[in-house]
Amino acid sequence: MSTLQEIQFSDAIMSRIHEYIARYPEGKQKSAILPILHLVQDEYGWMSEPVMNKVAEILSIKPIEVYEVVTFYTMYNLKPVGKYKLEFCGTSCCMLRGAENIMDYTLNKLGIKEGETTADGLFTVTRVECLGACGYAPMMQVGEDYIEHLTTESIDEFIESRRNTVK
C-alpha cells in the first residue's frame, strides 16, 4: 500500500465531511460513510484505493469496511467513467414505453457497448434498475439530473449539447 499515492481532501470537502459526521451520535461516525462517499465520488469520479483509504482514515475504521460498502451499493463507480454517465432505466415500466430501443439507439450513436466509455472520455452508458420515474418513461439519469420522456431527438440534442460544451 505504501506505493500508493496518498490523497488529501480539500478544506471544502473536509468541512462537508464534518457536517455529515455531526448528524450522527458521538462514536457513530461510520454512519456518515454513504454521504461522504457520494461527496468524494463527485470530486474524484470513482472509488480509487487511495480515496477509499482516506475515507477509512477520516472515519477511524478499517479500509476493508469501506471496500465492503463501496462494492455493495451500485452508485459507486469501481472504475473511472466518462464525464457524463448515462444511466438508462431498463426496468418493466420503462421497457413498456420503449426503454430498450432508446438505449440501443444511444449505444449505436456513440458506437459503444453497454458499460463502455467513448474514446473521447465523454460518455459512459449503463443500464440501471428502476429509478422512481416510471410514469415519465423512458428515462435516464445523468449526474444529478433525471432526463425523462426520452425520444431519439432528445438523445441527439443531449449528446450534441454536451459535446459542444467541451469544444
Binding site: 461510520k30 454512519s31 454513504l34 460498502v69 451500485t74 418493466s92 430498450e100 440501471v128 416510471c134
Partner: protein
C-alpha cells in the same frame, strides 16, 4: 372528485417554500400536538384514524407505534423510509418534490408521539434533487423554530436529518435500512429482535413510509375520526397511487380508498384508459413489482364477480389464486402488445440484481429464475422450464431471512399461474418470438386462436 388530503394544495404555486406552506395552514398540526396533546394522545389519534402503513405491508401505524419499547436512558429513533425503489413506485418522490414541509410537519408530530429526539429521512441516493429540496426545507423549519431545542417552548427537542442511500433496493427493507444508516452493507437482520425493541444503534426504532408519516399531520390537525370517515372497511383514508405503463395518463394520483379499479383505470381523472387506441388491457400489477400480476378479468372483477376496489381487502380477495395486493401503490398497466414472459424475465433480472446475497435460496434462486426466464424469452426454453420456474419459487418463498425472497417469487409464480399459455407459446414457437416486440404487430389473442387450433 375524490377527497384530497396529500395533494390538497397542489395547485398552490411554490408550495415547497416555507412561507407558502405556512399560508395554507402548515405546521398547525405541530402546534396543536406540542401545545395541547400528550404524546400518548397523539398515538391514540393515529390509532383512531385507522391509518395503515403506506410502504407496502399495510400494518396499522398507531398499533406499530404502541409497540415501541421505552427503556430508561436509551434514545429512540424515528426513521422515515424514502428509499422508494420498488419498480412502479414513484409517489413519495412526487410528494417530497412538491410538498416537503408536509413530511416534516408529520414527522415532528410522529417523533413527538414516540418520544424520539432524532429522526432520519433515508432517501435513495439517486434522488439527489429531492435531497436538496428536503435539506432546504429542514433548514427553513429549523430557522422558524419547528426543529431544534425546546420547540415552541414545549420542552421537546427534535432534529431531523437526511441520510443518503446509494443504490440498493434492499435498503427499503426496514432492518437493511437500519444497517445502512449504521454505515454497513444493507443486509437485513434476523428478527426478532424487532426494531421497536432493538433497531438503530441497538435502540428502540420505528420505521415508517414517507406517505404514512406525512398524513399524520393532517390527522392531528383534523382528527382521527375525520380521517376514518374516508374509505371503506379497514381501508381508511386516501392513498397515493403511481400509475405507469400502457395508459394514457401516467402519473401520481390521490384516491379515496374504495374507488373501483375500473374507474381508476378508465376515468379521465386518473389513468385515462389505454395508451394506444385499439389495444386492449392485458394485465395489471397493482401494487409494485412484488405483488402478483392479474389478467384483465381478475383485476377489474373478483373471481366471484364483484367489482374490484382499490382497498387492501378487495385487491387481496381470492388470495393468491385469484387476487393480489395493494402493496406500495405502484400500478403498472400492460396492454395486449406487452409480453408477459419478457416482463417476468425483466422483473427476475431486477430481483437477481438486488438480492443482498445473505440467504442461498434467494441468492441462488433469483439467479436461476433469471436464467430460465431468459432462455424461455429468447427462444431456447424447454417445456419442463415452465414447471421448473414454479418449483424454484416454492423453494425460495418462506425460506429466507427477509420478505425479499417472497417478493421475488410472487411475480414469477403469478405470471405462470395466469399466463401459462404465453410461456407455452414461447417454448412452442421460438421463431415467432425472435423480434423483441413480438406481440406489437399481432397481439397475443390472435396467436392464441392459432395456438388453440
Amino acid at each position: 372528485m375524490g377527497r384530497k388530503i396529500i395533494l390538497e394544495h397542489y395547485d398552490v404555486p411554490n408550495l415547497k417554500d416555507y412561507n407558502v406552506y405556512r399560508s395554507v395552514g402548515g405546521y398547525r398540526a405541530v402546534e396543536k400536538a406540542l401545545k395541547s396533546m400528550t404524546p400518548d394522545e397523539v398515538v391514540q389519534e393515529v390509532k383512531r384514524s385507522g391509518l395503515r402503513g403506506r410502504g407496502g405491508a399495510g400494518f396499522p401505524t398507531g398499533m406499530k407505534w404502541s409497540f415501541i419499547a421505552k427503556p430508561e436512558g436509551k434514545p429512540r429513533y424515528l426513521l422515515c423510509n424514502a428509499d422508494e425503489s420498488e419498480p412502479g413506485t414513484f409517489k413519495d418522490r412526487y410528494m417530497m418534490q412538491y410538498n416537503p414541509h408536509f413530511l416534516i410537519d408529520g414527522m415532528i408530530c410522529s417523533a413527538y408521539a414516540l418520544g424520539c429526539n432524532t429522526a432520519y429521512i433515508y432517501v435513495r441516493g439517486e434522488y439527489k434533487f429531492i435531497i436538496k429540496i428536503l435539506e432546504k426545507a429542514i433548514l427553513e423549519a429549523k430557522a422558524n423554530g419547528w426543529l431544534g431545542k425546546n420547540i415552541l417552548g414545549s420542552g421537546y427537542d427534535l432534529e431531523i436529518y437526511v441520510h443518503t442511500g446509494a443504490g440498493a433496493y434492499i435498503c427499503g427493507e426496514e432492518t437493511a435500512l437500519i444497517e445502512s444508516i449504521e454505515g454497513k452493507r444493507g443486509n437485513p437482520r434476523i428478527k426478532p429482535p424487532f426494531p421497536a425493541v432493538s433497531g438503530l444503534y441497538g435502540c428502540p426504532t420505528v420505521v415508517n413510509n414517507v406517505e404514512s408519516l406525512a398524513v399524520v399531520a393532517w390527522i392531528i390537525q383534523n382528527g382521527g375520526d375525520e380521517y376514518a370517515k374516508i374509505g371503506v372497511g379497514n381501508s381508511k383514508g386516501t392513498k397515493l397511487i403511481s400509475a405507469s405503463g400502457n395508459i394514457r395518463k401516467p402519473g401520481v394520483y390521490e384516491i379515496e380508498l374504495g374507488l373501483s379499479v375500473e374507474e381508476f383505470m378508465y376515468s379521465d381523472e386518473y389513468c385515462g384508459g389505454m395508451q394506444h387506441e385499439g389495444r386492449d388491457l392485458k394485465a395489471v400489477v397493482a401494487g409494485g413489482s412484488s405483488v402478483p400480476i392479474l389478467p384483465k378479468e381478475l383485476i377489474l372483477k373478483t373471481a366471484s364477480g364483484e367489482n374490484r376496489l382499490m382497498t387492501y381487502e378487495s385487491l387481496s380477495e381470492g388470495g393468491f389464486q385469484t387476487g393480489t395486493m395493494l402493496g406500495s401503490g405502484g400500478f403498472i398497466v400492460y396492454d395486449e402488445a406487452a409480453c408477459i414472459v419478457r416482463n417476468t424475465w425483466n422483473f427476475s433480472r431486477f430481483y437477481h440484481h438486488e438480492s443482498c446475497g445473505q440467504c442461498s435460496p434467494c441468492r441462488e434462486g433469483t439467479g436461476w429464475l433469471e436464467k430460465v426466464l431468459h432462455r424461455v424469452e429468447h427462444g431456447t426454453g424447454r417445456w419442463a422450464d415452465i414447471d421448473l420456474l414454479v418449483e424454484i419459487t416454492k423453494k425460495i418463498e418462506g425460506n429466507t431471512i427477509c420478505p425479499f425472497g417472497d417478493a421475488a417469487s410472487w411475480p414469477v409464480a403469478s405470471a405462470v399461474r395466469h399466463f401459462r399459455h404465453e410461456f407455452e407459446y414461447h417454448v412452442r414457437f421460438p421463431e415467432k418470438i425472435k423480434n423483441r416486440e413480438h406481440f406489437a404487430s399481432e397481439p397475443m389473442r390472435l396467436f392464441i386462436n392459432e395456438f388453440v387450433k
